[in-house]
Amino acid sequence: MAEVHVIGQIMGATGFSESSLFCKWGIHTGAAWKLLSGVREGQTQVDTPQVGDMAYWSHPIDLHFATKGLQGWPRLHLQVWSQDGFGRCQLEGYGFCHVPSSPGTHQLQCPTWRPLGSWREQLARVFVGGGPQLLHGDTIYSGADRYRLHTAAGGTVHLELGLLLRHFDRYGVEC
């Protein structure tokens, strides 16, 4: 019966090699969680920074959850994409972070990575764009032995999330 209200924004991203970036995001929760209002996933606009390195999206996130247990605390998964001059989109990085569990405002930095692929694919990526993508998107947040996956680091996504918790104390969770 406890409630969690996540209010915040995806501020932007830094450190990516491409400049026109947008971000697809989603929030994944366990079975005990119930979304009361808000949308679980979304996509930001394409931002092309004119000054500086950071692409600003300032994309609002407003979710209201009810939960009957602590398992499956909400986690955010992000995909940063870039758009090239032809309007084609390609993947720049996958990212993942947990929604903080303490109330208040939190500044989060979510580093990202992207699959490297074979040398051929890397070559193709350099010249014709595109790139390897995960077939199963849930790999971003589910734990498989990922050591087989060779990745390259992408930039960082900056998030600012405010959390309101309610009724957790009623069930003996201190926060």
Binding site: Q71, P132, T139
Partner: protein, 1615 residues
Amino acid sequence: MNPKEEKVKIIAEEFTENEEDAAVGRRKKKVQRQQRKKQPPTAGPEEMVSETPHLGPQQEPGQEEPKTHLLSTTARRGPRSLPPIPSASRTGFAEFSMRERMREKLQAARSKAESALLQEIPTPRPRRLRSPSERESETEFGTEPGKEVRRTQQDDDSQNYSKVKFRDSGRKIKSKPQVPPGFPSPEEAYNFFTFNFDPEPEEERSEEEKAGAKTRGGADQEAGAPGQQVNTTADEEELLDGREAEDLLLGLEHMADDFVAIRPAEYESVHHWLQKEKEMLFVPSRLTVPTYKKLPENVQPRFLEDEGLYIGARPEVARTTGNIMENRLLVQEPERGWFGDDGRILALPSPIKPFPSRPPVLPRGQSTAAELETLYKKAVKYVHRSQHMIGSGDPSGNFQVDIDISGLIFTHHPCFSREHVLAAKLAQLYDQYLARHQRNKAKFLTDKLHALRNAVQTGLNPEKPQQSLETTQKTIKEYKAEIWQTRRLRDAEQEKDRTLLKTIIKVWKEMKSLREFQRFTNTPLKLVLRKEKVDQKADEEAFEAEIQAEISELLEEHREEYEQKMEEYRAAHQQWKAWKRAQRARKKKKKHATEEPPDEETEEAPPEEDPGKPVPPEPTDRAVLEQQVRERAAQSRRRPGEPTLVPELSLAGSVTPNDQCPRVEVLRREDVRRRSVYLKVLFNNKEVSRTVSRQLGADFRVHFGQIFNLQIFNWPESLTLQVYETVGHSSATLLAEVFLPIPETTVVTGRAPIEEVEFSSNQHVTLDHEGVGSGVPFSFEADGSNQLILMTSGKVSHSVAWAIGENGIPLIPPLSQQNIGFRSALKRADAISSIGTSGLADMKKLAKWATESKLDPNDPNNAPLMQLISVATSGESYVPDFFRLEQLQQEFNFVSDEELNRSKRFRLLQLRNQEVPEFRNYKQIPVYDREIMEKVFQDYEKRLRDRNVIETKDHIDTHRATVAKYLQQVRESVINRFLIAKHHFLLTDLVVEEEVPNISILGLSLFKLAEQKRPLRPRRKGRKKVTAQSLSDGDVKLLVNIIRAYDIPVRTPTPSKFQQPSRSSRTFVEKHAASPSTHSPTHSADYPLGQVLVRPFVEVSFQRTICHTTTAEGPNPSWNEELELPFRAPNGDYSTASLQSVKDDVFINIFDEVLYDVLEDDRERGRGIHTRIERHWLGCVKIPFSTIYFQSRIDGTFKIDIPPVLLGYSKERSMMIERGFDSVRSLSEGSYITLFITMEPQLVPGESVREKFDSQEDEKLLQATEKFQAECALKFPNRQCLTTVIDISGKTVFITRYLRPLNPPEELLTVYPSNPQATAELVARYVSLIPFLPDTVSFAGICDLWSTSDQFLDLLAGDEEEHAVLLCNYFLSLGKKAWLVMGSAIPEGPTAYVLTWEQNHYLIWNPCSGHFYGQFDTFCPLKSVGCLIGPDNVWFNIQQYDSPLRINFDVTKPKLWKSFFSRSLPYPGLSSVQPEELIYQCTDKAAAAELQDRIEKILKEKIMDWRPRHLTRWNRYCTSTLRHFLPLLERSQGEDVEDDHRAELLKQLGDYRFSGFPLHMAYSEVKPLIEAVYSTGVHNIDVPNVEFALAVYIHPYPKNVLSVWIYVASLIRSR
């Protein structure tokens, strides 16, 4: 030792176990140290607990094992022999055994220690015997040294024994008292093994011992050892004593040589070893055991599986393992109970489940790779369209169906000559014959009959005495029944065979005669009857035998029957006799004893009925029977000796060449040659491909031999072949459609058999040559009798199969995209794939079928099926293919699910989030559950519950209620369908971009600076549009600009004035208003000019807000006023969807302001004016809000809706130019008002869905429509061009399919049988009476749906298109030339009108009002014409102008009208979507009357409600008068009754001032009626003595179309 101590020991032992190995060496030293200290081992229990003291006795025996054996006696050991403590699981077996031994040693040591304590306390044993090397070796090998090791030690010991001994003895002498004789020290015991006996036997024994220890366990060892060893010890003692003595004698100087004997290392040959092992051990062979060994003598192995019994799968066992087992069993337990009949070990069926209950652990490398697999994707541009394609769930769907069309054979064709007909018949019969012949049922049955007879014969012979007589009897009876059955069947079959043969011959004969008659042959068919000679005698014999057998059987049957009957007869007879006797006796009794009480007689009365004497059955006569049998045989069987006829059909005949044929035949052949056939392949009703066009052969066979590979995405719903025939170069005609079954999922290419599907066509063809035609009667006889009608028919041979992909996977789409999960779960259960049935959807059904059909569960063939069924029925089909991550979810939950769901707050939040209408606009939701009222959900729950309950409260009329529900459902489904599409935004929806000013705009703005501030003729400018989201209540206003009006009715002088001059006072206004409104110049003289004829003002009411203009004067007033009305969206929701569904109307009412002088006293007239203002309603204009919203502005002149009877007013007759088509009737009756309506700020109207819809139209046609529309839009972007529309199921339909002559109701046609114009008007009126409901309201923002006319009439609601289509169809059926006009009109905007061509002019009909206008009528609301639509074509207006006044409607001129179907694209003959004809039910008059009463009651109540502060009196008399008057109005359609009515009213209501008017409406619901009455403002009169009258009349038209008249009036009594 007490038990407590023991316990402690056990604990200690347990405790030390682990340390033992590691700490062996350390401990040993310690132990020895302790021993040296001569500590008595028996310490108190408290000491025992601690580890160190206890270790001594524990460890000691490790070295002194042999000794302990010697010393321990069974008696002593008894109480201490602890049972082996169950080992903890962590210890392995080896460890266990080791411990076991340890324990034994421990016990032994303990006993020894005890004995030592008892007997040896003064001389504890010194313990320094061993050399350090030995000790080392000991520590190396642990506490359990092997025998070999021991021996080497012994050897070592023996080698340096003397020295050791010497030292030892020396020490003994020094420090310790001598060991008493007869008690061997441990060393002695030890040495006993090393010395003075030959090692062989000892070795043997020790080995035995070891083996024994291993196999038997410690107890045996202990039991067996002592006796034997005691002896040896005794020997040793002697020896030892001797040596010691020697040692002592010889002194210390002895050299080692003396003591050391060098011996060779002992060696036992491997061979020897093996030999011994062989004796000891049994090693079963690995070779296969021959079967005979496993079975009892002289028994052949039996294989149950071959006998058809189900034996489950045996568990998998490696063969060698199996062999070993068998060999062992054979030797060890030779009773052979282990082997089954088949010579194999008995085994239960494999217990392994068919599917794993644990998720399969995939090979490691693969699984992770699969999970982490990445796919190189190209950089993609987002294509929005594909995102929203309906039904494209699975992008990887790459499925393929192969359709092989091999050919086509016509079994009848219009071009068939008579001979062909016969040939086809013959061929068919021959095919039948061949099929029958192949099956040869008769033969089969005959054989069966023989077999049965034999069986009966043998059964009758009492050869098998062991069978009970009863069962034999029973079986024989059954056999006989079967014989009877079979015989009947056989006879029938034989008869059929014979008749078939006869028919073949008959047809052949007919054909021959026909060929002769026409003197040419057309077909190469030739029938040869081959006679097969039979041996006459044998045949006859067989025949006779058969007959005899049959007769005898029949006889027997009859005899049985006879006997049975006899039996019955006898019984009956007996009964009868008994009855007879009783009767007689009674009679006698009666005679003899009449004194009997009468009641007895009554008792006996019942059996007095005479049962009747039974008739004995006739025995059957053999002769008669024989006669019958023979007759039947003659009929159905070949006569004996008659040769068997075998027909053979060949194509060997020759066809007469063309030049020898008569002309008609040549014509026919040429015609045939001109024809060609092709097939279209339709997949899911879409043409996907077609075969090549092949010429029809002379034999009417067409070979295609084409294979079509269809790559499909969706599950196939239908596969159709369309057979098209082309004659010469004309267009193809559809002959027939052949529906192919969709192949089973198991049918894949290569395995599919060629099948033939028959088709037939219902087309009627008559030909002018020899061809017999199709659907036309023809005859073979010369006189034309015996007519035959044949339809074109034929067979298509084809095969349909699923293709196989590259890797052998059939490309079959999954059964349904939704239940993939279930299927994949099922797939895992192997049984299903092995059965390969595709219809596994319902397992329960399958199980039911299995139980019903009594499947043999033991049949091996059924095994997988049974397994599957057991899985399905036991509910085990749910295979967990997941790994539960949140295993402990349940345990850690705060609350249960129910509690979570019960929370009202959460529910409210969720419902608001889902935009459920009731909760969509909740702004704030309480924080606590307790603050939320339970009733919040009541409405919502009620709505959910009542979704299917038809509520008649609001609708009164059940039919309409049903329709409303239906519409609601359609709306919901449509809305759900387009929900995705609605979320599809374009950039312009999100971003408002100001245009960057360019030069031209700059220039214009510069000009603007120079223009006048207040121009004389201001024009309206476009305004900025506002997106709806940012609005709130009060932001939006409706601006209504009332400019002027024309031809307002003017007051007429009340005739009453003249008739009743006695009226005491005439009011002020009456004097002025008394002028007659006729203003023909002749009359105008009577009234002074400049007199006020009418003082109209306009009142606009919208959403119950009312605004009105100032009062103007005269019939042509000019107001030029702007009224501002606030707009409030429903629930404060200003989203586009919500605004679109606003149903409110703007009422623009025109009133006449009348002043009445109420001054009672004439004397006061000079000092004051006391008047009362009354307003009289003159008419109204009603504009739906949705129109304003979509048009964004409405500008124009509208006809005012004026009631047909307006008492006290009449039209001013002005000089009118003749506008109408009909010069006789003036169309100037209307009054008009010029308006401008808009919204402030301007709202962006919702756009319709940018979406393509499914269609069943030909792809080519669709392409053509797109092209046509694009071309038209290029030329005239503003003109409406419509070629395809969306029907109610959301499919695109070509528009002309909607037009088709449809019969109007019969009732309307009979009204004016001679006047077609009047009939047309009546029909138009009927159509206009069907309520209007804009699609945009019902399908908010989605699209314009067109319903067909029958749907429209059923729904009784529709917008302009439906009305127009229906009217157009009616006109077409009335024989008029009619078109649908798509254009724009005011106030509707884009709309549909109907255009008809009368003798010499065009008429434009407004289908919603039923009015019509001439082409050149300036007041025609139709302002522009985009296109015309006829039943077979669409014409787009390409003239310069689009106003109907200025265009030419002659569609034959290609320069003015661009037609859709032209020479390049001929009209393909599209079938109509409309029904053949409309069926009208007469509306129930009684129901209408009832409705009438109810409406009247409701309206009266409403009027009283609207006058809360006044008393509302009803004038009954007036009401009844009005009620009589209304039907009159209906009959005359509200025309030309005014004067009569007025006169009548005046007569009846002489002293009342009466103001009122009838309203006429189409009936849909009550609410609009109420609104209409309200808008007239009749209730607003607040004169104290006012009375009201209200009458309602409903005239029912067919199909529940109701015309409602409401007469509402107010009366004021004038004194």
